[in-house]
Symmetry: C2
Subunit: 165 residues, 2 copies
């Protein structure tokens, strides 16, 4: 545990917790609240406007950024979900013709997943609409606050960092 803050250094053999600890807990609960609220709004819009879901969109977004495709394990670590989870979502996207599985040369355990032309076209359109939704949901967020928010959240996500950001 990082003990750089004076609040954390006092004697606490009892169960009392510090003000700082409580402030951090409040901050986490607020992150959770915003995250759930925005996710809920986006999920509903995806369903009504696109007849699709958030997990499908997330997978396609990752593949759109990596035009050469990604392995299943790359996908699951990029999205921070389990391997088994990605399998199911990919299965359904393949059935929908949005993506394809391509065997990997020299490694028959792995396969690479990539967008089909249809998938690319669909995603490109939807990504613009999606960005508009987010911008509207965040319309009270100024450029300065957006930067501050990103900076603060990065300090958190860099703590106990997995390989890279």
């Amino acid at each position: 545990m990082n003990m750089t803050n004076p609040e954390d250094l006092r004697n606490d053999a009892d169960n009392e917790t510090s003000d700082l600890s409580k402030a951090r807990l409040r901050a986490w609960l607020q992150v959770l609240k915003v995250s759930r609220k925005i996710e809920g709004e986006l999920r509903e819009k995806m369903r009504l406007e696109f007849g699709s879901t958030l997990p499908r969109f997330d997978v396609m977004a990752a593949l759109y950024r990596s035009r050469d495709g990604m392995r299943m394990s790359e996908l699951s670590s990029a999205l921070m979900v389990s391997n088994g989870n990605v399998t199911g979502i990919v299965d359904r996207l393949v059935a929908d013709g949005m993506i394809v599985r391509v065997p990997v040369e020299n490694d028959r355990r792995a396969s690479i997943v990539r967008l089909t032309p249809d998938g690319e076209k669909d995603f490109a359109e939807r990504a613009l609409v999606h960005e508009g939704w987010v911008s509207e949901l965040f319309s009270d967020l100024s450029a300065n606050d957006a930067d501050a928010l990103i900076r603060i959240l990065r300090t958190i996500s860099h703590h106990n960092e997995a390989p890279h950001d």
Copy 2:
């Protein structure tokens, strides 16, 4: 859509999106990333240390704050999840002896859910440990940044506000 920011007022008959819009999208993706990461960490700790889950903890936390109990509909709106979802979690917590359903006087449609003495005891212990986990995961977050984070996130969650915060 809130059109108070100059960036949003320019002509954009084409699909180009503003820098501010992109900054907000980045901010949202960072919120999502931190939220997933912290949730994953907490879920694992809950499982290993408590043999329990995050949704169960959330329900018990809500009930701990409302000692007189809550209706199912109050629970689902407090946790921002669907009614049907709460039913399943409550069923399992009842089976575990952590909570009970109490009929509501004069309204046989509704029932009130409240912690049992065992549930209260269990939650009280776990809440302290949980706060410690969060504080450690957020240990790079200063008091100032915690306050800034809460303030910024509140401006977002107040946008298109449901009844209260």
